[in-house]
């Protein structure tokens, strides 16, 4: 199915956006309704090292330990909803490893839904192991046949009990890695904004077919491979390998790419680690899964509160299963997640959701440029720039990056958002570079193919060109 481009925003104003409510709610699993008036906690986990050794051990880890522990803790604490997310470990690329886990999680959700009435669902996020050097499209005859394995994994998930299908696709990573290590925003625009969007269309058209055939919700994607790499390398106040102004602009560009899943038919909820979610929600109106303060088990970032502002599912990103004083790790982190969600839903029930949204947002609005551009009013402004150029994947990604850069500059000029001298220099340079790019797609591609021809593993054939 060809992608149907978004050229308008779903929301008439930024203020319309709030956590727990989306323009297009989605129902699935055992009673889960995403974006329908309340936030759902989404728990993600990793099995202990060694449990991936055989199918029986892996199933026991995911189903009998992790899922059971989490669901019973949710019941213990009175949480009405819980979505589980299983991000497949690479070994689950083998059907014999994956199938028992998918079937087992479906069965345990059904059991406890029937027993306690708790609303439950499982998102399965299949692994994208494709490597640019081997070819990232089906039939390119790579040693590992990873493109074929990707679609096979989606089939296995959907045929055996997934409620939601997601993926963290890797298209354009050879260029985004180069871009981030060399501070080259044009390479990022080309790799993620342009080629990444093409790869998204290739992958998600097929994912949506698989989901439709199996009556599974096509959730969505995330630019974890690109924008999260730059965000994590930019790090916190003691790190700075990559400038946070660069990281913020890559985030905006990634929104134009990640929303392609929705243009191919995905309905949301999209992936928690896609920090571009607020921008995408402003355009698609579809439920957004997000993470922040309650994902410190996985990583730290500078917008822990802010990311809750317009979420529909609230996630812990991932925690390895292990014992803690308060129970297993999944139980402890679900407790933190669930109580945060409870606070949001209490605010909604009392008609104070917009006030809480604003407090979440203001607390991190000036912590750094990455959070600043994702503050819902700024995210909406970036969404507007994307939608205005919605029919052209190059122009909209460029518009996203340039708008984000100018928002940062505007706030810095107004002495609201502080920047280091280096961050400001990099910002000025990015604005100059993005403004100098041609307005014609073919000229941009011609320039980039020449400019980046020596980037390791870069091959236009991977993108059908």
């Amino acid at each position: 199915m060809a992608a149907k481009r978004f050229t308008k925003q779903a929301y008439a104003s930024a203020d319309e956006m709030v956590f727990g409510s989306s323009k297009s709610p989605v129902s699935y699993g055992f009673g889960i309704k995403a974006g329908a008036g309340r936030v759902i906690p989404e728990l993600n986990y990793g099995p202990r090292p060694g449990s991936e050794k055989d199918p029986a051990r892996l199933k026991k880890e995911y189903v009998d330990y992790i899922s059971k522990d989490a669901i019973l803790r949710a019941v213990t604490l009175g949480f009405p909803d819980l979505q589980l997310e299983t991000e497949w470990v690479s070994q689950m690329g083998q059907t014999k490893m994956a199938q028992p886990v998918v079937e087992g999680q479906k069965a345990i959700c059904e059991k406890y839904h029937e027993e306690y009435g708790i609303n439950l669902a499982v998102r399965h996020t299949v692994p994208d192991q494709r490597e640019a050097e081997e070819g990232i499209r089906v039939g390119m005859n790579g040693k590992h046949a990873y493109p074929e394995a990707l679609f096979n994994a989606a089939e296995v998930a959907c045929e055996n009990g997934a409620d939601v299908l997601s993926c963290e696709t890797m298209g354009g990573k050879e260029l985004s890695d180069y871009a981030t290590t060399n501070g080259d925003i044009v390479a990022f625009l080309f790799g993620v904004g342009y080629l990444g969007s093409m790869d998204m269309e290739y992958v998600w058209s097929e994912f949506c077919n698989i989901c439709k055939k199996n009556k599974v919700i096509a959730g969505g994607d995330t630019n974890c491979a690109g924008a999260n790499t730059s965000m994590f390398m930019a790090g916190g106040f003691l790190d700075n390998d990559v400038q946070r102004t660069y990281s913020a602009v890559t985030r905006a560009i990634s929104a134009a790419r990640t929303m392609v899943a929705n243009e191919c038919g995905a309905t949301g909820p999209d992936k928690d680690c896609g920090y571009e979610g607020p921008i995408i929600k402003s355009i698609t109106g579809m439920p957004a899964a997000q993470e922040g303060k309650n994902c410190q088990c996985a990583h730290a970032d500078l917008q822990g509160n802010l990311m809750a502002q317009v979420c529909d599912l609230w996630s812990n990103e991932s925690v390895e299963y292990h014992p803690e004083f308060g129970g297993s790790s999944v139980q402890c982190w679900l407790g933190a997640l669930g109580y945060e969600v409870s606070l949001m839903n209490t605010a909604a029930a009392c008609g104070k959701d917009k006030e809480l949204r604003d407090l979440y947002m203001i607390s991190d609005r000036f912590r750094g440029p990455e959070g600043h551009i994702l503050a819902y009013d700024n995210a909406y402004e970036i969404g507007k720039a994307i939608a205005a150029e919605g029919n052209n994947i190059y122009l909209r990604a460029k518009a996203a990056g340039l708008t984000a850069a100018k928002i940062i500059k505007r706030s810095n000029d107004a002495k609201e958002l502080q920047l280091t001298a280096k961050q400001a220099d990099v910002l000025a340079d990015m604005i100059k570079q993005l403004e100098a790019l041609p307005s014609e797609e073919d000229k941009f591609v011609e320039y980039c193919v020449k400019q980046y021809k020596d980037v390791p593993n870069f091959c236009m054939k991977n993108y059908g060109l």
């Binding site: 203020d15 192991q129 490597e131 060399n182 994590f232 700075n240 390895e320 920047l419 280091t420 280096k422």
Partner: protein
């Protein structure tokens, strides 16, 4: 939106990054560190200011007046030493390191052509990202840093099978093997590599690194040593070259990586 104008954000947030900005510039640091000899200084400045398009002609000119090994050590490497200082002082960042290293490598390649038998390397390092793991940006950065510190690197890439790593080590006999992993389920490849190496009687340090790996894990199996981030790799390699085995590196680890 709630009106936040006038709110006291000092009780919410402290921008340590803004407060800790270094007031020095590349020029002021370079003034103290660049070689006095004008020919070497010119070569060093090519690296310092990342002029990868012009480093070739500048090195070619220098080679008419100076010995190739001196152009490398007193010019190109001197420039990289200033870059390393700027990086340590948070004046330069990763992109500058990458571009300066690229510039230096262009210059070294030119100068090496005039050294019979090539330049002596400090040693060979075999690097890989773990089997099943497609994340290799950290390895790639560490490889650049090792090369610019004078080491030779065999980069096996990402998603490398355990047996392939072992075979490469047997074949090329490096003094250090590195592996990176982002996932806890792929980092389990490292003890398997180590076990097979031990079974073959090979006592080479295996550096485990990457987002999923911590020091405790890296030191939980024989041969295993840890690197938290890419810039720590060259000083650890230096210590091994000076004679430390994997047990000694563990003992001295905090001292070796210091404030890096």
């Amino acid at each position: 939106m709630i009106d936040y104008k006038g709110a006291n954000f000092d009780i919410v947030l402290k921008r340590y990054d803004v407060a800790a900005q270094n007031q020095e510039t590349p020029e002021s640091v370079a003034k103290k560190m660049l070689p006095a000899d004008p020919i070497f200084k010119k070569v060093a400045e090519e690296v310092l200011y990342m002029r990868f398009k012009t480093v070739g002609p500048v090195v070619a000119e220098a080679l008419k007046e100076r010995k190739p090994l001196d152009v490398i050590n007193n010019g190109l490497v001197s420039g990289m030493e200033v870059v390393a200082k700027l990086y340590a002082d948070h004046i330069y960042y990763l992109p500058e390191i990458m571009m300066a290293a690229k510039t230096m490598e262009i210059g070294i390649a030119l100068a090496e052509k005039q050294i019979p038998g090539g330049r002596e390397t400090k040693g060979l390092v075999v690097m890989h990202a773990a089997e099943g793991d497609p994340h290799d940006i950290g390895k790639n950065i560490a490889a650049v840093m090792l090369r610019s510190s004078g080491y030779t690197v065999t980069d096996m890439g990402k998603d490398v099978a355990v047996d392939d790593v072992v075979d490469e080590v047997v074949k090329s006999k490096p003094f250090l093997v590195t592996g990176t992993a982002l996932m806890t389920t792929t980092m389990t490849a490292f003890p398997r590599v180590a076990k097979k190496l031990v079974e073959k009687g090979i006592n080479v340090p295996l550096m485990a690194a990457g987002g999923a790996v911590n020091r405790d894990f890296a030191e939980s199996f024989d041969l295993g040593i840890y690197s938290e981030k890419a810039p720590q790799t060259p000083p650890i390699a230096d210590r091994i070259v000076k004679g430390a085995d994997w047990k000694q590196v563990r003992e001295d680890w905090d001292d070796i990586v210091g404030g890096i």
